[in-house]
C-alpha cells in the first residue's frame, strides 16, 4: 500500500507539472486545429472519403501522442538531476526504483491524458462527417495506449543513459523508424549466414516492436473486423514485459549513480 501511495504521489507531481507547463493545452490546441482542418475538408465536400479522414485522424493521433510521450519521458530524470530537485525526493524513504516507476507512471498518465484528449477531439471531428465508429476503433485506442506506455518506458530508459536531447532523438528514431528498422533487419537476416542471422534476430527482438500496437491501418478501413482477444492479451503481455525490462535497465544504471 505504501509503495502505491509513493507511486501515486510521484505520478501526480509529473501530471501537475505538465498541466501547469501547459503541455496538455498545447495538445488541446493542436486537436482544435485538427477539427478546423477537418471542417475545411468538409467545406469542400468529402463524401466517400471517410476512410481517408479516419486514416488522417489516426495518423495525427499517433504522431502527436508519440511526440508527447517521448518529450515527457526522456527529460524526467536528467532534468531532476540537473535542477537538483532529486535531492529532496531521494532523501525520503523511497527506493530509486520507486522513484523511476513513479516517474514513468506519471509520464504514462500525462501521455494517455493527451492521447485521450486528442481522441475525443478527433472523434468529434469525424462525427461531423458521419463517420461510423466500429469496435476496431476502441481496440485501436487501447492498443495505442499500451504502445505509448512502451514509448514512455523506452524514453525514460534512454534518459538515464544520455542527455535529454540525445535521448529524445534516439527515442524518435525508434518510435517513428522502428518498422523500417525491423524490415531492414528481417531482410538482413534472410540474406545472412546462420550465425549473423541469429544476431540480427536478437537485435530485432530487443528493439521495441511499436508497429505491433498500431491498429491504425485496420481502424482506418471501413468494415474491418476487430482483432481476436488473444491479440490484445499478447499486446498487454508484451507491454508489461518490455516496460519491465526498460525500467529494470534504467534502475540498473540509476541505482548506484552518483547524484
Amino acid at each position: 500500500m505504501r509503495k502505491i501511495r509513493v507511486w501515486k504521489a510521484l505520478a501526480r507531481g509529473v501530471l501537475l507539472e505538465s498541466l501547469r507547463r501547459k503541455d496538455l493545452w498545447v495538445v488541446a490546441i493542436l486537436g482544435f486545429l485538427i477539427i478546423c482542418a477537418a471542417g475545411a475538408l468538409g467545406f469542400f465536400g468529402i463524401n466517400g472519403l471517410q476512410a481517408f479522414v479516419k486514416d488522417l485522424g489516426v495518423t495525427v493521433l499517433g504522431l502527436f501522442s508519440t511526440i508527447m510521450a517521448v518529450l515527457t519521458s526522456c527529460r524526467l530524470l536528467p532534468e531532476e538531476i540537473k535542477q537538483r530537485t532529486l535531492y529532496p525526493l531521494l532523501s525520503r524513504p523511497i527506493s530509486r526504483f520507486d522513484l523511476l516507476f513513479g516517474k514513468w507512471l506519471g509520464a504514462v498518465v500525462v501521455t494517455w491524458a493527451a492521447f485521450l484528449l486528442l481522441v475525443a477531439l478527433t472523434a468529434g471531428a469525424l462525427m461531423t462527417f458521419n463517420v461510423r465508429f466500429e469496435p476496431i476503433m476502441l481496440q485501436y485506442v487501447v492498443a495505442k495506449m499500451m504502445g505509448l506506455a512502451v514509448v514512455c518506458a523506452v524514453s525514460l530508459a534512454m534518459g538515464t543513459f544520455m542527455t535529454p536531447q540525445a535521448a529524445a532523438t534516439l527515442s524518435f528514431i525508434l518510435a517513428f523508424g522502428s518498422s523500417m528498422l525491423i524490415r531492414g533487419l528481417i531482410m538482413a537476416y534472410d540474406a545472412s549466414n546462420p550465425y549473423m542471422a541469429w544476431i540480427f534476430k536478437l537485435i530485432n527482438v530487443s528493439l521495441p516492436q511499436y508497429s505491433l500496437f498500431d491498429l491504425g491501418g485496420r481502424a482506418a478501413n471501413i468494415g474491418w473486423s476487430p482483432v481476436p482477444p488473444w491479440v490484445m492479451a499478447f499486446l498487454f503481455t508484451y507491454m508489461v514485459v518490455y516496460c519491465g525490462a526498460m525500467l529494470t535497465l534504467s534502475w540498473a544504471k540509476f541505482r548506484r549513480q552518483t547524484i
Partner: protein, 335 residues
C-alpha cells in the same frame, strides 16, 4: 532522547580507537546504538571531467550523539557536502563505514528518521509550497488530514503562510530556502542534516531559523549542519567538526572553544605593569595600562596585584574571541 535500538541483524561489534573516533554506547550484544551519526574511515572520490579521480573525502571519522547540535565546518571544497551526501545515500563511498542510528546510511529505514535540507534550494517550479510539502510528506509516509495540517503548520512556522499557494517559480531565493527548511521538518525527524542552512536567508529569517532549530533540539532532535556563517555556528552549536581538503582537522566543544578564545582586559592606573601574568600590555595614556589575560584566573590574580599595589581599576572587560580568526588560522595550519 535516549539511545536507539537497532535490530540484532543490523548490529555489529565495533571498536573505536583514538581521537576523534568517539566511543559508542553499545552493549556487549550490540543491541543499543548510541550514536545518531557514526562515520569511520570514510573515503569518497569523484571522477572529474578529465577522467581523473578526485579524492573528496579521505579517511574521515567522527560521531554525533543524539540530541547534539554539531556544526560541520570547512572551506569550499573541503568535502562537507560529499560527506552529507554519503549520509543520505546519494553517493557511494569508495570505502569506510557510515551509519545513522546504527542503520546503514542511505537505507530506507535510516532515511525515514532524517530530515534533509540540500545545499541548493531548488523545488519544482510549477508546484506551490503547499503542493511541494504534500508531495514530500506523502513520500515520507504521511497522509490524510494530519499531513494537510502539518503542511499548513510548517508553512506558518517558516513564515510562508501567505505564499503557500504561489508557484515556487515566483518565490525568492530566501522563500525557497524556507520551503526547503519546512520540507526537512516534515514528519518530525529525529535527525536534521542541513547543508548550508542559512543560505539565502535575511537576518530576520536567520533569527527565526535559530529559534526553530533550538526548539527542535529541545524536542530531542539531533542537528548536524554545514555552514559558512560562523555566527550561526557560534549561536547554535554544542560542538564543531572542522575538515579541510577532505581530511579531518579537529573537533571542539563550543563552550571550551569560546573559553579559549575569550580574552579578559583590565585597564588600571597607579600600579606597575603585570609582567609575566598578562599576555599583552599596552600603555593607554595618562599612566593607564591595558592588560590582556588569557584566562579568568589570570585576570583575578591581576586584580589582586593591582589592589595590593594600591592601584585603581578603571575598567574590566571580557572580550569574546573571533571564531572567524580561529577558523582561518586552523585551516591555514592544516593546509
Amino acid at each position: 532522547m535516549g539511545a536507539r535500538y537497532a535490530s540484532p541483524g543490523q548490529c555489529r561489534a565495533r571498536e573505536h580507537t583514538g581521537a576523534p573516533k568517539a566511543s559508542r554506547a553499545e552493549t556487549d550484544n550490540c543491541a543499543v546504538i548510541g550514536d545518531a551519526i557514526w562515520v569511520e574511515d570514510l573515503h569518497v572520490r569523484y571522477r572529474a571531467k578529465n577522467g581523473r579521480w578526485v579524492n573528496a573525502v579521505q579517511g574521515l571519522s567522527f560521531s554525533v550523539k543524539p540530541g547534539e547540535v554539531v556544526g560541520f565546518l570547512g572551506p569550499n571544497g573541503a568535502g562537507k557536502s560529499s560527506t552529507l551526501k554519503v549520509l543520505m545515500g546519494f553517493v557511494e563511498p569508495k570505502s569506510g563505514a557510515c551509519e545513522v542510528f546504527g542503520l546503514k546510511a542511505g537505507s530506507l529505514e535510516a532515511k525515514s528518521r532524517i530530515g534533509y535540507l540540500p545545499e541548493v534550494a531548488v523545488y519544482y517550479p510549477f508546484l506551490t509550497p503547499v503542493e511541494t510539502l504534500t508531495l514530500y510528506g506523502e513520500l515520507q509516509g504521511l497522509s490524510g488530514a494530519s499531513l494537510k495540517q502539518e503542511c499548513r503548520d510548517l508553512l506558518e512556522l517558516v513564515g510562508l503562510k501567505d505564499a503557500q499557494t504561489k508557484l515556487n517559480k515566483t518565490l525568492s531565493k530566501g522563500m525557497l530556502q524556507r520551503v526547503g527548511i519546512a520540507q526537512s521538518l516534515l514528519g518530525k525527524p529525529e535527525l536534521l542534516i542541513l547543508d548550508e542552512v542559512t543560505s539565502g536567508l535575511d537576518p530576520v529569517g536567520r533569527k527565526e531559523l535559530r529559534s526553530l532549530m533550538k526548539d527542535r533540539q529541545k524536542e530531542g532532535a539531533t542537528l548536524f549542519f554545514s555552514s559558512h556563517e560562523l555566527s550561526e555556528v557560534d549561536m547554535l552549536c554544542d560542538r564543531i567538526l572542522l575538515i579541510n581538503k577532505g581530511v579531518f582537522v579537529e573537533e571542539r566543544q563550543m563552550d571550551a572553544l569560546k573559553d579559549e578564545l575569550r580574552k579578559y582586559v583590565l585597564v588600571y592606573s597607579g600600579a606597575p605593569p603585570l609582567v609575566g601574568l598578562a599576555s599583552d600590555l599596552d600603555e593607554v595614556g595618562a599612566g593607564s595600562i591595558r592588560a590582556s589575560f588569557a584566562t579568568k584566573q589570570d585576570l583575578l590574580q591581576g586584580l589582586d596585584r593591582v589592589s595590593q599595589a594600591g592601584g585603581h581599576v578603571d575598567d574590566v572587560v571580557a572580550q569574546e574571541g573571533s571564531l572567524e580568526e580561529y577558523f582561518i588560522e586552523r585551516i591555514k595550519e592544516a593546509a
